[in-house]
Subunit: 290 residues, 2 copies
């Protein structure tokens, strides 16, 4: 573990706030600086203990940092990373917490200084509750964090990023930005899209008769609109493919229903049931949050 350091968090919402709480709870930072546009919200995060110091001045906020973690919406991350890279010295680690990676990493790569400082790193954690008020120091405990280095990422930066995220409690793995986005389209973005499709399919006047299956199936449909609009747009290629897979599954089920083919219905359900059981059998599958 490195000696305590100054960490700047750009965007102190649920994820940024949870990083701050975890850093402070684990004694991993001498100072946590929160950077944002809304001083009132930043002050609330400071009162909650997520950050030590709040500023709306980006340059001033990142200037003295050893680590800068960008937690803004995915559509803004590359911009913020490049902006930080122009201010901080070459010893700094730049990382992020965005749920998509290909576009972000490609944009950062075109900026040589940013490219040498940055490692994309979305931890697979979150909640349908947005904002620092819902931040939790244990949000990253035992969660997977996917580092997305490129062939141009310096090895020492990769090692530091690995250390930073595992210090926060994550299980760190690495894959390419493109592979990351293909996988997350299926494992996270598709579940969100289907959750919303389900929520808006049920007429409002029938909601009183909805129960547990609807409740759990639509939980993440309550997530922040801006956040998810940005994620869907950034990852629309892989997500369209994932939606196509789901459409094929639904069409196969409809055909089995239309022909009242008991064996086909049974096989269709069993395949899904086995996939779910495989998921349940994996370590800490049930505790994982978003």
């Amino acid at each position: 573990m490195e000696s305590p350091q100054t960490v700047a968090i750009v965007g102190v919402g649920l994820i940024g706030g949870s990083i701050g709480l975890a850093l402070r709870a684990r004694g991993l930072a001498s100072q946590v600086v929160g950077i944002g546009r809304d001083l009132g919200r930043l002050e609330a995060a400071r009162e909650n203990g997520a950050i030590d110091r709040a500023t709306t001045d980006f340059s001033e906020g990142v200037a003295g940092a050893d680590v800068v973690v960008v937690c803004t919406p995915v559509s803004q991350i590359a911009h913020d990373v490049r902006k930080a890279a122009e201010i901080v010295p070459g010893s700094v680690l730049l990382t992020d917490a965005g749920s998509t990676k290909r576009q972000i990493v490609e944009t950062v790569q075109r900026h040589p200084q940013a490219a040498s400082l940055f490692i994309g790193a979305p931890p697979l954690a979150g909640s349908e509750r947005a904002g620092a008020a819902h931040a939790r120091a244990d949000l990253f405990e035992d969660r997977v964090c996917v580092l997305t280095p490129t062939p141009f990422t310096p090895k020492d930066r990769l090692d530091r990023a690995r250390q930073f995220w595992s210090d926060l409690g994550c299980r760190v793995i690495a894959m390419s930005p493109i592979e990351h986005d293909e996988v997350l389209a299926y494992t996270s973005h598709l579940p969100h899209a289907l959750s919303a499709a389900l929520a808006s399919s049920v007429p409002a006047e029938w909601l009183a008769l909805a129960a547990g299956a609807f409740r759990d199936g639509t939980r993440v449909a309550g997530s922040d609109t801006g956040l998810w609009t940005a994620i869907f747009r950034e990852n629309r290629g892989p997500l369209l493919k994932a939606l196509g897979t789901a459409q094929e599954r639904i069409a196969a089920f409809k055909y089995a229903l239309m022909t009242d083919d008991e064996d086909a219905i049974r096989r269709w359900w069993d395949e899904a049931r086995q996939r779910r059981q495989l998921f349940e059998s994996m370590p800490s599958a049930i505790d994982r949050n978003v």
Copy 2:
């Protein structure tokens, strides 16, 4: 409340077992008789306190009952109701716990004696865990129970059914069997179908990167295959319509993604989010189980 009575439960799984536990916990029955095909499983239910007495002899089991609750798979309920009606005296209340109603009620109606004793009554409760071992005395507390009388249902039988299910803790409402099936296709059967479509869309080798959205979205995909195959077949007309609605929602989203129409993506998500928030604002929405 009526004086303690003998209740026969045909099919002692999750629902039947929970009815037994609730009857006994609330002192609503002098005796609970469990009827099934597997004496070993019935004995286990007896040891768990779900029933007082176990029998595999259908006729002997229902013979002395004041109330017979049929909790077999939906494809078998009408058969069991008619069989019971031929044995029991005319004073008995026959009811069931099946998640579909039109076909069951139509089949029962064609049998005059069964028609005069029977009220369809699926409580909106359940779990992805099948079997009496997962039964709970509080499974019905504050759950909605939909009685499905017909124009031919005697009023005293309707009153007794209302009493029986509300004694178990249900909030009792009534609607026609056809309306019931149309509503449940959207509020329960569609969420189950989409849950399975999601589960089998994600490749097994990527499950280690799935998290909370996948976990909650696929919970009910772990439900019993036989039970759900029967429900889907019984209610395939209304379910096909509900699946069509979900397909339209997914197609609209795909189109918004393909054209990278930020406003359309945002509106699409917001509509779903508002529906989910409306559901959350309803009394005890979040506690309701399946």
